[in-house]
Amino acid sequence: MSGGPAVQISIESSAEKQIQEVGLDGSETYVQPLSMSQNLARLAQRIDFGQDSDEEENGERSLPRENDWGDQDEEEGLVKFQPSLWPWDSVRNHLRGTLTEMCVLHDVLTLVKDKRYMHLDPVSQESIAPKQSQHGLLLVSKRKSLFSAAQILLKGGERLSKSVAENQENKRQRDFNSELLRLRQHWKLRKLGDKILGDLSYRSAGSLFPHQGTFEVIKNTDIDLDKKIPEDYCPLDVQIPSDLEGSAYLKVSIQKQSSDIGDLGTVNLFKRPLPKTKPGTPHWQSKLEAAQNVLLCKEIFAQLSREAVQIKSQIPHIVVKNQIISQPFPGLQLSISFCHSTNDKKSQKSSSDKMNPEDHLYVLEHNLHQLIREFHKQTLSNIVMPHPASAPFGHKRMRLAGPQAFDRNEINTMQQSEGLLEKIIKQAKHIFLRSRTARTIDSLASRIEDPQIQAHWSSINDVYESSVKVLITSQGYEQICKSIQLQLNIGVDQIRVVHRDGRVITLSHQEQELQDFLLSQMSQHQVLAVQQLAKVMGWHVLSFSNHVGLGPVESIGNASSITVASPNGDYTVSVRNGPESGSKVMVQFPRCQSKEVPKSDVLQDNKWTHLRGPFKEVQWNKMEGRNFVYKMELLMAALTPC
C-alpha cells in the first residue's frame, strides 16, 4: 500500500445541515440545525412509550425479583474480580444491566411522580408547523366554501335571468295570442300549413269580385331584446298583398267637357291624408281596413268599367286607364277615376300640385260605395236559406212568380236591374241639375231686386229627385202678393214646375229654359201684384190678361197687362209689363180735365165731358218709391180723391 501513488481522498461529512429542498435554480435550502431542546424533544419523540410501558410492566414484575436479586447482587459482588472466570458471568452481567436500568427507571418515576425536579409538558415540538398549515388550510377551505357559495349564487342568478327571459318570451307569446284573438274577432282567419291566412275580401258579403284578398298573419316576436322596443310595437303583424297596399279612393267629378282630349286617362292622384287611426285600435286593424278599402274601390271600378263597355248608350262611355268618362249632358263630362296611391313617394309628389280637390263629388263617391254594397246584398239574398228543394235558385220573389202567376210586366220589373254605372250617371245628372238650378235661382235673385225671389229647398231628398219651392214677392207687400208660388221638382233629366193653380210645366235640363220661365213669372207677378193692390185700395179691375197679344213681341214669354179704374171711375190706370220690355204705366184722365182734347163740334153737350179722355204715360223711373208695387200704391193714392 505504501508503494502505490498517493491518492488524496477528501472526506467530508455527508451533510451538516439537511437539505430541505433544491430550487429550480439549483440553490439549496437547508433545514436549520436543531437546538438542544429540540434535539432532546426529537429524541424523546423517538421513544416508543408504548413499548416502554411493557418494559415497565416487566420492570414491575421484576421488582420483587430485584429485591431477591439484590441480595444476590451483594453476594455476587464478591466474585466480580474474576469475571471471566465466573461461570455465571453472563448472567451477572445481565442482572447488573437490569439493575442499572431499574435504577434509572426508579429515578425517572420519582422524577415524574414528585414533580419537584422536572415538569413534564405535552410535546409541543410539532405545534408550530401544524399551525401554519392550519392557516393555509383555513384559507383554502374558506376559499373553497366561498367559491361554492358563489357557485350557488351564480347558478341561481343564471336561473333567474333565464326565467325572466322566458317570462318575457311567454308574455310576448301571450300577447301574440291575445292579438290573434282580437284579430279573429274582426277578420276571417284560417290555418294553412304553418301559416295563418286571413280573408279581407267581401266575398262573404256577396261580392263576386275574383280578387283573392288574402293576407298573412305574421308573428313578430323575434325582436332584439337589447334595443328599445318601439312605441307601436305589436307582436302580431299582417302582410297584405302588394296590390292592395296604400290608399285608394274613387274620384267622381263633373266638369265642362275639355276640348283637349290629350289629358284623358291621366292619373289624377293627390294624396289624401290618411284617416287618423282611432286611439286604441291596433295598427293591423287600420292596415287591413285600408287594404279592404282598396279592394272595394277596385271592385267598384272594375264593375263600372265592365258596364261602361257593355252598355250601349248614344254617346259611348270611354274607359281609359283608370278613368271612366261619360257624358250626362251635352258639353258636360262625368269622370270617375280610380286613384290608388301606394306608399311610393315619387308618384305622390309628381301629381299632387295639379289637383284641386274641390270638384270631387264626395256624395257620389259615397253613393258608389253604397250601391256596390246594395249589389252585394242582392247577390247574397239570392241564395238565402232555407230554400224549397224543388224550387229553382234565385230571388225569393222570382221563386214565387210561378205559383203567384206574375205577368210579364211584373217579371220584367223584377228582372230589370240597372247597373252601377247607369245609377251613378243618373245620380250625377240629378246632382248637377240640382246645383245648376240653385245657381240659376240665386243669380236671378241677386241680379233682380224688384220682385224678390225666394227659394226654399227641402231638406229631404231622394237620390234622383229633390224639390224647391220658389216664391216671388215684392218687398213690403209679402202679405198681399202671394200669387206666384212655384214648386220645382228636379228630376234626373228635367225639372217639373208645379204652379200654384195646378198647372204643370216640364222644363228640360237647359239652364236657359228655367231662367226664362222665372223671368216671365216675375213679370207676371208685377201685374198680379197690381191686381191685388187694386182690391185692397178699392179700385176696380177693368181688364186683366197674362198674355197680351198686342204690342211689341217679347223674346221671352208674353207681356201681361191690367187696367184698373179708380173708385169713382174718373181715372184709369193701365199697366203693361213684359219680361223684356219692362213696365209701362199709363193713366187715363177724365175728358174734362184734359186740355189737349179739342172741343168737338159734335159733342156739345155737358154730359159728354164725362167720357174718358186720352191716356198719358207715367214717367215711371221718376216716380218715388222703392219698388214697383210701392210706386203703384202711391200713384193710386194720388189719383184717388179724398
Binding site: 224543388s390 224550387a391 229553382p392 222570382m398 221563386r399 212568380a401 210561378g402 205559383p403 203567384q404 202567376a405 206574375f406 205577368d407 210579364r408 211584373e410 217579371i411
Partner: protein, 213 residues
C-alpha cells in the same frame, strides 16, 4: 194584371180564319192600338187513370194543364168546374212522374197563338185556335189593366169590345158573375180559356168534319 174577358169570334161570311183575323186586326190598328209582339196559350188534356176511376164509377175527370205567355213562369192545372192550381214550371216535370194517374191525351192538345195589341189601358190578344195542325176558330182576349174588380169595369170593356167586334161582343162571362165584387185573378183568365177551348173542341167533335183553312 187587370180584368180579362176571353171570347170567341165567329168567322165572317165567306171568309177564312186568316181573313177574319186580318179584318179584326185592321180595325184595332185603325183605333190606334199598337202591336206588341205575339202571345200563345196552350192546353194539354190529361185523363185521370188508375184504380179509383173505375171503382167509383165516375167517368174519368179531365185535367187540363195550361200555359200562357202572359204568365211565362206559371203552369195552370185545372179541372172542369173544379179547382185551379197555379204552380211554377216544375209542374210539367211532375206530370211526367205522375203518368200512372194522369195520362196525356196528346191528340187533344189545343193552342191559340196570335198577336198582342196594346191600346191605352187595354191589352187585346187576337189568336187562332188550332188543334193539331188545323185551325178551329178565333179567340179574342181583352184585358183592362188598371182594374182588378170585374164588376167595376165590365161596362167599359163591353163598350170597348163593341168598338172593334161590333155585334160579336160577348155577354157577361160566367166567371165574372161569380166574382162580381171580388178581385180578379189570373186563374180566372185560364178558366175562361179552358171553357172556350172546350167549347170549340166539342163543337168540332159534333160536326165531325173540321174546317179547312
Amino acid at each position: 194584371m187587370g180584368v180579362t174577358c176571353v171570347t170567341q169570334v165567329p168567322l165572317a161570311e165567306g171568309k177564312s180564319i186568316q181573313q177574319t183575323v186580318e179584318i179584326l186586326t185592321r180595325k184595332l190598328e185603325q183605333l190606334g192600338a199598337e202591336k206588341q209582339g205575339t202571345f200563345y196559350v196552350d192546353c194539354e188534356t190529361y185523363h185521370t187513370a188508375g184504380t179509383n176511376v173505375g171503382s167509383t164509377g165516375q167517368s174519368g175527370k179531365l185535367l187540363y194543364i195550361m200555359h200562357c205567355s202572359e204568365y211565362p213562369l206559371s203552369t195552370f192545372a185545372l179541372f172542369e168546374n173544379g179547382p185551379c192550381l197555379v204552380a211554377d214550371q216544375n209542374l210539367d216535370v211532375m206530370m211526367i212522374k205522375l203518368k200512372g194517374f194522369f195520362q196525356n191525351a196528346k191528340a187533344n192538345k189545343m193552342e191559340t197563338r196570335g198577336t198582342r195589341y196594346q191600346y191605352c189601358d187595354f191589352l187585346v190578344k187576337i189568336g187562332t185556335v188550332t188543334m193539331g195542325q188545323s185551325g178551329r176558330g178565333i179567340s179574342v182576349e181583352v184585358d183592362y189593366c188598371p182594374c182588378a174588380v170585374p164588376g167595376d169595369c165590365w161596362n167599359l170593356m163591353v163598350e170597348f169590345m163593341q168598338s172593334f167586334m161590333g155585334s160579336h161582343a160577348p155577354t157577361v162571362p160566367p166567371v165574372f158573375s161569380s166574382k162580381h165584387d171580388a178581385l180578379y185573378t189570373p186563374a180566372d183568365t185560364m178558366v175562361q180559356y179552358m171553357e172556350l177551348l172546350n167549347k170549340i173542341r166539342k163543337h168540332q167533335q159534333g160536326t165531325v168534319t173540321g174546317m179547312r183553312l
